[in-house]
Each structure stands twice: as structure tokens, then as C-alpha cells.
Amino acid sequence: MPNPILELTDVKTHFPVLSGFVRRRQVGTVKAVDGVTLAVERGEVLGLVGESGCGKSTLARTIMQLVPTTAGTVALNGRNLSACSPAELMQARRDLQMVFQDPYASLNPRLTVHATLAEPLRVHRVCPPGQIDARVAELMRLVGLSPGFLRKYPHEFSGGQRQRIAIARALALEPKVIIADEPVSALDVSIQAQVLNLLSELCRRMHLALIFIAHDLSVVKHISDRVAVMYLGKIVELGPAVEVIERPRHPYTRALVSAIPTPNPEIERTRQRIVLAGDPPSPLNPPAGCAFHPRCPFAQDRCRAAAPPLAADGPVREVACVRRDEI
């Protein structure tokens, strides 16, 4: 990919599991993110999907450097973030912002909207103090809220409006990459549509790269250019959104796609659904070989032997399944 804005190379984030009260000993390791290689271009929307516990939020936090990287590099605009000094990191974070899932928890209830939006501007000294008010009002208009609301507190807004404020806060520093961690999961259908439209319009207009994390595949298909499917810390399938979701190659992606109920009774009652048995395995004790094999309807002995790497599948797609051409 020519000149990606964000490049992850074999990123691993492992957490030690400690036990004991007086003498803490390490009894295991949770491999939350285990070897992710990914590149995001300017202006691209990358959807990241997977079940809870698959490591998608940890990956987001690793990119933000909110948790230390165990191995591998996260490069923003060619600069390796995990090797940066705190001062350099602060500088780099101007280009890298995050929108969280729960707009009820991610806004400070004691700050007015004005204070919330002005804080990043002050901290990073991006505009002279005299111009902060004008910039904050501009941000409000950008996300479709009236600047008249600036003196209000978060509790006076609805969920959808709060998520708009959180998006405005992320945009305050004119970042190049935004990571949105389940930004619409907590919202109602009609409000969800408003926030999705806003996000995709902003990306187009401001040429932003967006990493959109969600578990709802229909939302991801709608908003993303490319989709990465994660299972137990690894990417198992990567490719253009429509292709991956309409013609999934990995058995896990197939099951995921088949599990979404379609809002059409004629189709919904006649189609064959793949119902996976069991829960995702514990990342503390992952199965040998392909992590998906205990739930996979196509598993063979060689699936248990070694973990399949993410390999090219045609010009634009990548799949991590040894049996991809047989099934």
C-alpha cells in the first residue's frame, strides 16, 4: 500500500496474569493481541469486527499507546509510536484521536460542553486563547449541534447528541486518524443512523482515516471500505467490506455473517443458518493450532497442528485458513 498513514507490524499486546496475595507470581499470559499486521491509508474507513473478548478494543488501545506494546511496531506517519518519548507521544496524539462506546461515561459530567471541547485546544496550544470560542462554536456546527448549547452539561443531552459531542472533541485537533470503539452500539436505531451518516460524511470531507470497531456487521459493511475480522487476538480475514461480507472465505466470518438476523421475514425463515457451538475460547488458554478449530465445522487434523498465517487470497484479500480453497 503506498504511503499508509497508520501501519501496524506484527503487533502483540500480552498481559501477565498474576496470582498470590503476598508474593505475586506470574501464572499465565493473556495474549489479547497476538501478531496483528495492518495498514490504513489516508481517508480510508477500516471496519474491525469480532466477538467480545477477541481483542479489538485492546488493539485500539494499543494503537493509541494507552497500553504498552509487547512486541511489534505501531507507526503513525512513519514514526514508531512505541519508541517515542512522552513528549513526542503527546505531539503524535494530535493526529490520533479516539471516540468511545458509551457517551454517558466518556464525557466529564462536571464540565460544560465548551470546557470539554476547549480542553484539547488549550492543552495542545493549537489556537490563541482569543480564538478558542470561535473554534469551539465551529466544532459544534461541524457535528450538527447548535453553538447555543455550549454552556450546557452532558446530562442535558440525549445519547446521540452526547456521541456528537464526543466526536467534536476528537475532531478538535484536526487529527488524521480517528479510532471509534463501538460508537453506535449504545444508541437506538434511528439515532444510530444519524451518527453513522455524520461519521462517514466527516471522513469524506476531512480526508480522515477511521478505524471503526463494531460487532454489528451490517453497520460495518455500510460504513467501511475494508473490513478486518478478528478472532482471539489475530486477524483471520481482511479485505474490501462488500466482498468479505457477501462472499466470506474464513469459516468464522461465514458463521458471523450467517448469525446476523436480516430484517426480512421471507429470507429470514428460509435461509440456512450456521449456529456455532460454544463460546469463544479463553485467551488465557488458547487452543493449539488454529484458534477457531474447536468451533469450526470444517476442522481437520492439520488445523490443530499449526496456526495458519494470514495469507494473500487474490489481489486484495487475505485469509488465515488452510482449507480456504476446499470449503
Binding site: 467480545s52 446521540g160 436505531v189 453513522l196 451518516n197 451490517s218 448469525a259 436480516t262 449456529v275
Partner: protein, 324 residues
Amino acid sequence: MPLLTVTDLRTWFHTRSGVYRAVDGISFAIERGETLGIVGESGSGKSVTCYSLMGLVPQPPGRIESGTAVFDGTDLLHCTPREARAIRGKRVAMIFQDPMTSLNPYLRISEQLIEPLLIHEPVSRRDALARGVAMLEAVGVNDAANRIHSYPHEFSGGMRQRVMIAMALITRPELLIADEPTTALDVTVQAQILELIKRLQRELDMAVIFITHDLGVVSGLCDRVQVMYAGRIVETGDTRTLFRSPRHPYTRALQRSIPSLQAKGAALFTIPGLPPDLSQPIQGCAFAPRCEHASAMCLAGTPALAESEPGHAHACVRAQAGEI
């Protein structure tokens, strides 16, 4: 005769900041073995409807202002506490949205699971436990004989929801009320739970009221759907008919705002504005301020449900007049 007939139910909450008309005059019926979906956004009154039937509305501030809910000859809203206890938890059971908070973390699964049996049926502890194990196996918990003695935190979210379902079904109820039972779960686990509810419904021949905001879930599971908005039913009908030809503008708007039904790349259809504040009296149709088809006649009076064809009713005066 329907298993449950609800007539003109009104549940209002009298708070310091005003009277919230959470449920404001709804009527519906459900037959034995039938699945009824109740769809609506947060605050539309779908959960309060079911809480009213189960006697779970905190009073005060809540108050059931009017209405009857006749279950097999007994009015659940006006019967004696003794009569209500004989029905609730035995013949009518409920599962809740959040399996993380609706199990008691201090009690073993076994204690919670067999509690309804010990209360409602003359069984010994040992027999109750055996039925508990059988029920856990029926909902797909492996190694049930050992796992029944675990605590809730030892189970995953999907497993806890299975325990909740087992607990609700252990008395073989005739009506199951499921309040967003899969909203907190992953899609793959959701698919498992929906299949489970379908299978058990067939086996026990029970009626199910399924509350959800996900139109996709409704389309695969329910025989009939009713759409709620601001405490009222705005449209009700057979699932296929309602999805194929929705008549009320709110149902149409909901359907159009789902991403999977949209062309990719195009902007999603959005409903402008916010749901109304239920503490203020609503003039005319509650959806009118957000409706693209609203006219003066929408504000004139509260529209009543009227059938447009047998079994399909909606509360839009303009659609009833044939204008949209």
C-alpha cells in the same frame, strides 16, 4: 379465547418533575403458542408494559391508572396477591435483558434455578435439583450436574442467559415474556439463544412476548409484531405483512434506517429530531413532529388504531385516509 388479553393499559410514573405517561392506553392479545414481538426504541414503553403485567412496576412512583390484563380468566392487575403469586413465576415467566445483573452473585446457580419449583410445586429438594439439572441440559449447558453448583461469575454471558432461560422455563410456563434477552450478547451467541427459545417454545407449546429493538430478530422469530412509540401502539400486524407493507410512517422510517437494507455508500435514512418528552401532554399524534408526512389533521386528535386489512392495524390518520 386468547391466553392473555390486555385492554387499555395505562402505566404512569408520578415524579417530582411531572407525570410520565410511559404506557398510555394499549390493548393487545396473545394466543396460546403464539410469538408476539414488541418493537420500539428506548423509552417507548415496551418494557414498562411487561413490567406492569408481571407486577414489577415500583409503586410509587409508578401507578397503573387503568386497564385490565386477563390471563386465562384472572385479571393480573386487579387480582389478590395470592392469586397473582400462583400465576407469576409459574404460569407466566420472564427473562431479562442483562444476564450479568439479574442473577444473584451470592447464590449458587442451583439455589436460584430451583427456587421457583420449591415455591410453586410440592416437590422435594432432591427432585427439584434433578429437574434443574435436566433443564440446564435442555438449554445446552454441558456437564450440568457439576456446573449447577457453580456461582454466576463462573459462567460466560451467553451461559448466564441460558441459566436465566432455564430458570424461567423450569415451571413449564404458558407465557414467557422475554425483555431484550439477546441485546447484551454477541451475534453468534444471539443466534444460539434465539434457536434455543424457538425449540423450547415448540416443545412446551408456550406463548412468547419478545421485546426487542432489533427488527432483524423479530422477522425470524415472531408471528405477529406490534410497534410502539411514546407509550402507544402505532402499528400491529402479521410479521410478513408488516415488513412487506408497513403503513405507519414511523415503522417505515425504522425500516429505512437499518444499514443492511440500504445501498452501500448512500447516506442512511434518518428520523429527524428526538422522541417526545413523555412528561408533557402530547397534542395529537406523538410522531407528528418528526414525521415527513405530518399535516394539520395529525395534530387535531390522538389517532386510534384502525384496521387497514384484517389483522393489520395502524394509528396514522393520513394513511387511514388513504393520503400516503
